[in-house]
């Protein structure tokens, strides 16, 4: 466990056509390079899971990797809409995209239930909204002590969970800090996992706010410096806000997108 591998090897080993895959990252530490590797390997029919599908999911959807999206907010943060996502939902291009739509609170609790080995989670949520009418994975549940009716959502247990982190040691123990999002939850909830890291180091010195994922709780670790770009890795890089803003124009047009994908993803070979 916590086996150190190259990115292409780890993705080949973990991600199969038809799999349920979560590439998580709440603005920070998004495993973008891993998403590009999935595109390069030509995976199809994936169920993509993520609270905040942003540019890399837009790219994966536009590249035809996805059959279904499970999510709570699909947008380009601070910029606007995701045009490839829209095109797939509104016009079925390049393939129809089934959606399963939740709120952030619901998705976060679904990961928590998954990480906890429970079949469902309970929250105060969704009540009065139109979401339960369109999403089968939202149901009422009654408190056995007070009789109060709350909301239940089922656990998320992806086949593969992928996140980016700052560092790992040579034994495959992972350390991340800053906005840690649902990184721990998605790795623990998933049957198998991949963590891409900025660097592999001899020793993980303690850091304020750091989350540790022990080697034995992670399947693969791959060293991919800059693997979160245009997202960032606190202490290593800054968020490339220009890239997010530029994405809007690139992604509006199918041809511009296709050319971009060919040049910037498909024709690139990552360092082994």
């Amino acid at each position: 466990m916590g086996v150190i591998a190259s990115l292409p090897e780890a993705v080949t080993e973990l991600v199969r056509d038809g799999a349920t895959v979560a590439l998580e990252g709440f603005t920070h530490l998004i495993p973008v390079a891993a998403g590009h590797e999935i595109i390069r390997q030509g995976r199809r029919d994936l169920t993509l899971v993520r609270m905040t599908p942003d540019i890399v999911y837009d790219q994966m959807i536009g590249a035809g990797c996805a059959r279904k999206l499970v999510f709570s907010w699909a947008g380009n943060p601070g910029v606007g809409s995701l045009h490839r996502f829209r095109d797939a939902v509104q016009r079925g291009w390049p393939a129809p995209l089934e959606i399963e739509e939740h709120s952030h609170a619901g998705m976060a609790n679904r990961y928590v239930a998954g990480a906890s080995g429970l079949p469902f989670a309970v929250l105060r949520g969704y009540v009065g909204t139109d979401l339960p009418a369109h999403t089968a994975t939202i149901k009422p549940i009654t408190c056995p002590f007070t009789g109060e009716v709350l909301t239940a959502v089922p656990a998320l247990n992806p086949d593969v969970g992928i996140v980016h982190a700052q560092r790992a040691d040579r034994a495959g123990n992972v350390q991340l800090w800053g906005i840690t999002g649902v990184h721990k939850e998605v790795v623990l909830a998933s049957h198998r996992s991949l963590v891409t890291v900025e660097e592999v180091v001899d020793e993980l010195d303690p850091r304020p706010g750091a989350v540790i994922l022990p080697s034995w709780a992670v399947t693969y670790v791959a060293e991919v410096p800059g693997g979160a770009h245009p997202s960032y890795a606190m202490g290593y890089s800054e968020r490339d806000n220009d890239y997010y803003q530029a994405w809007d124009a690139i992604s509006r047009d199918r041809e511009a997108f296709t050319a971009w994908l060919e040049e910037h993803v498909r024709s690139r070979v990552p360092a082994p």
Partner: protein
Amino acid sequence: MTVAAARALRDGARCFVGIGRPSTAANLARRTHAPNLVLIYESGTIGAKPATLPLSIGDGVLADTADAVVPVPEIFNYWLQPGRIDVGFLGAAQIDRYGNINTTVIGDHYGDPTVRLPGAGGAPEIAASCREVIVIVKHSPRAFVERVDFVTSVGYGSGPGDRARLGLTGRGPVLVITDLGVLEPDPRTAELTLTHVHPGVDPARAVGATGWPLAVAPSLGVTPEPGPAELAALRLLERQD
């Protein structure tokens, strides 16, 4: 609009901030009349004090300057859900007569939408659990509709008593701030009512930009002009952006 929103935040309040105008307004308030405003972002940063405006809710400047950074499940479960947050700040693609908000789809069919919007994010639970909600949205008939195409976040449902019936703990939207003025729910009918216009705005313009027969408060007020300190702070914030 941003200044009016900033002014609505009282010093010391705990404010759950979405990105864009809400974030600008909250940061403006912190630099003017509300230095002790506690900014909470759904990325898990509690007490963020950004020197520059973040583009996203997860920019490094938020984590760097926060009192605490907690995991995302914790921000929703321990901090938002129990009603610890005073004010939730939301935007909207559509808002209706009763302050219900749509950020999901435009069109009559969820499965075949005219426009697919980003979706719910944190909004449904912010709208449910914050003690008060402030909505910021540009005034137009496309945005101010008789009935939202999809209820992403509940305002007053279909009228008075609905929030209590649904078990929602917060008061709901107490202010809707637009580029033309301010709407507040009528205490009796819960219907959004124009209570203030910005200086120089004809109330008829607001009525015309609203997709239902907008009620106008008999004691219609005018929001004070932005002061020089507010304008200077706002310019500084926006320049850094």
